[in-house]
Amino acid sequence: MIELIYSPNWFYGKDIIIDIISIFVLSLIAYFSIKYYKISKNKQYLFFAGSFISIALSFLFKVVTNFTLYFNIINIKHLGLITMTYNTIKSSNILSDIGFLLYRLLMLVGLFMLYSTYSKNKKINNILILYFIFVLAYFSKSAYYVFHITALIFLFLITWQYWKNYQKSKIITTKLLIYSFCLITLSQIIFIFIGLHTTFYVIAEIIQLLGYLILLLTFIKVLKNGKKKRKK
């Protein structure tokens, strides 16, 4: 049987809050990126916004699925009836299968889109990679760590790109962005081991939260710096 819940009992709901914060940060950046696209008509902004929307949606599916699962567990505990428990689990399994599949799929598509914003890959390569993402998202149902390893690779490549960018620009906001993506990448490394012990899930979620909070701080700093007057 495939394990669906990696969180310890006491952490139920808290991980949902962490994911909601991540959705908020990602949506905020996507919203501003769309706003800037309307001014500049630069398609890179649109692509960038698309990648953040995809990742935000993936978290949304994770939240909804986890919420359904946690709610059902509470329900089962409360009722304590074997026949009703069986039916609840069966129906929630189908929902969670679809929910987690969409979570994995949209997360990998989003990360790939973000990576593509910076890479100069040819179109055919992109189509091939998208195909592999679809296959991988589906089959990683039985081997969750394959999904986390793939996300880790994309995140590493994106962070590396930000590092190269920082070498050129040397601006503090890019440095913060690197810290934020380093933490999000680190959370994926820890997510690989969630099958070993539930504590890994808690640690990974907290690190992910720190990563997205730094991303929010970076974005606030970007807006603040933009307001400052600079003499030309």
């Binding site: 001014i39 960038f48 910076y118 970007v222 807006l223 933009g226 307001k227």
Partner: protein, 90 residues
């Protein structure tokens, strides 16, 4: 080789030049500050007036260009956009 200035860059340069002069500037000064040819500047000025980013006024017989609130807000938005662009390497 230096990158060719885009239209949005030129508009931003013009508006920042006005701001740096305390919100009003003589047209000839603006032309030098924004590094534009006379014909080019005339076209940009018409566009900026139409967008309500600037106004033309007369003071003691001299013509001035002043930046409006809409223009100031646009500069702020553009600066934020440039900062966003630099941070995320877009």
């Amino acid at each position: 080789m230096a990158r060719k200035r885009e239209r949005s860059d030129i508009i931003l340069d013009m508006l920042i030049s006005i701001q740096n002069k305390g919100g009003r500037i003589k047209p000839t000064h603006l032309m030098y500050k924004a590094n534009l040819a006379h014909k080019q500047m005339k076209l940009y000025l018409e566009d900026l007036i139409e967008k309500d980013f600037i106004h033309k006024i007369k003071d003691k017989g001299y013509g001035y260009i002043i930046i409006t609130d809409t223009g100031t807000k646009f500069v702020e938005k553009m600066r934020q956009m440039k900062e966003f662009e630099r941070t995320f390497g877009l």
